[in-house]
Amino acid sequence: MKLVPIYAIAGALTLATMLPQQAAADDLVVGAAISLTGGLAYADVPAQKGMQLAIDEINAAGGIGGKYKIDLRLKDSRSDPAQTSIAAQELIDDGASVLVTPCDADPSIGAGQMAQSAGVAAFSTCASSPNLPLAVGDHMFTNFPGDNVQATVSAKYAIDSGYKNAYILISPDTSYTQLPNYFKTVFETLGGKVVGEDNFSIGQQDFSAQVTKIKSLEPAADVIMTAAYEPDFPAFIKQLRAAGITAPVIGSDGIDSPTTFALGDVAEGVVFSTAGFAAPGSPLEAFNAKYKAANGENPDTIFSAIGYDLIKVLEAAVLKADSVDREAIWQAVRELENVQGATSTITYKGTNGVPLRQVSLIKVVKGDRELVLQEAPDAALIPAPSL
């Protein structure tokens, strides 16, 4: 590994943002105020790689509809809401036709509001909070199966698997880690019972207190649901299994990460919801192959494919609008139906900004993924976003 001095990196970043950016009149200027560093980089960096792949592909083919080249302008929002808003405003002032915001609701809200008042459609790379569009307005879109949608699929799966007593583990630290609350709603609607619930703090290395409580639950939990992710999920499941608790565990997309598959025996049988599954012949498998060809390695998270999807959505919107005008694109997004992405088909028509997407349930089997089911849940079951 060659060490690049920090000032060289900083210099390169500064240069990149200072270069004159002259877009041709017909270019689709995509402003991305996303996090290349800081706490959200783990999601935004892979999403950005997927976006880039789609952009290169489309531009190599002569642009959208052979006409509109995509000009991606990237500003590092450094995982900081204030920085995100500043970057978003600059990108909008700079003529961006659409805005891309980070993989989290908090920074996306501020940036989304800038987009909202400028009449620019904004997409979060991979935030899954169904509240995000509600908090911002009709110009804010998400790009991932919503927390409530994922939870509906996993709760139904739990009931269908015959589980009756669930334990849920929640962190109040983020809205995402409260996803099990949606699970609880659906699980109880379908006749199950939540016999215990606990809190944890993100980054907590110790779950012994929770595990000790789970062990003493009466009646015992026959399924455990959490949206904890790294590093909490591995620590939790290790301590859970070490305590001799064998109840099945259901997680969510946060654990769709190589770490989960490297955990060994403790993760065997864990089921989690995520945005897609690379079945043979599927678009996701094709995407993974393209990604590997471009980057020399397999994507290690679904977020890359999700970033690819985002550009495919923009492509479809521009095609529909036959324009790179902000207003026209926004109108077009609201009418999109069944756009074929790498992970799923994507529909914005008739939604409030959270797309209709399929959810894949995946089981960890011998360190590999096995598809349990893939579906868009019954709309009537999906709990309303809770604030």
Binding site: L36, G38, P46, S201, Q205, K238, L263
Partner: protein, 295 residues
Amino acid sequence: MEIFVQQCVNALSLGGTYALLALGLAVVFSVLGMINFAHGEILTITGYTVFFSLMLAVPAVLIIPLALIVAMLAAAAMERVAFRPLRGAGPTSLLITSFAVSGILQVLFQNLISARPRPVPIPDFLTGAFTVGPFHIGVIQSLSILATLAMVGLLTLFLKRTLLGMAIRAAAVDFPTTRLMGIRANRVILAAFAISGLLAGVSGLLWIAQRGSVDPLMGFLPVLKAFIAAILGGIGNLTGAVIGGFFLGAIEIGLQAALPEPVQPFRDAIALTLVVVVLLYRPQGLFGAVHSVRP
């Protein structure tokens, strides 16, 4: 009753890892009067060492010593490159520098290694547990208790029995006078950093075994906890740091076990409030801060 004993084991194990980290902070603080916030990045470096060793198929028996050596060298290098040029610039400059070092390392990890967590497969026997009577004791849990005891024991021996150890204790009291003994300031400071690196390396290994991955930002939270533990124990006081670590572990586990579910989200706030209450009555911490003459 059984649950109580189980929770005590839990508290010991969690407190132990806090104690190791706090001890690392305290050793450096005791001689330099600075909190090294880049201490957490030593954990991260330890983790990446394990990750790359596994990738390069380094024999398993070598990985742990290698990781610990790298941790010590990294801490020493930090001192040499970042802090030594600022010697004498005052604790505030050093503190700010340590934040900068921490931030720069995080960005380097993100840009040069990966913004994503990297998996570190941990052998299954480490994730197991054994049963003693009615108690389930996790292997990692027991390892962290044992490692804490071993490190505290070794460190005590080192500080009491070796000349360098005595010099570190002397420097903690009165640095200039220690130099009047012909003891090289740089050696003492370097040794303090190397020790803190070793302690961070051990806690890093335990933390990695627990979480199964390395992440560019993983060092932040542990160092924050360690900071609280060190303050609680009496900043710069080594015994205090250990006790502070166990105390913090006990508070956290105790609240987790005892608080009713609706209050649980306020657990960290309550824990910190308890810490503040302790500090209100004992502003110098449980064991009294060290007031000493610094370089």
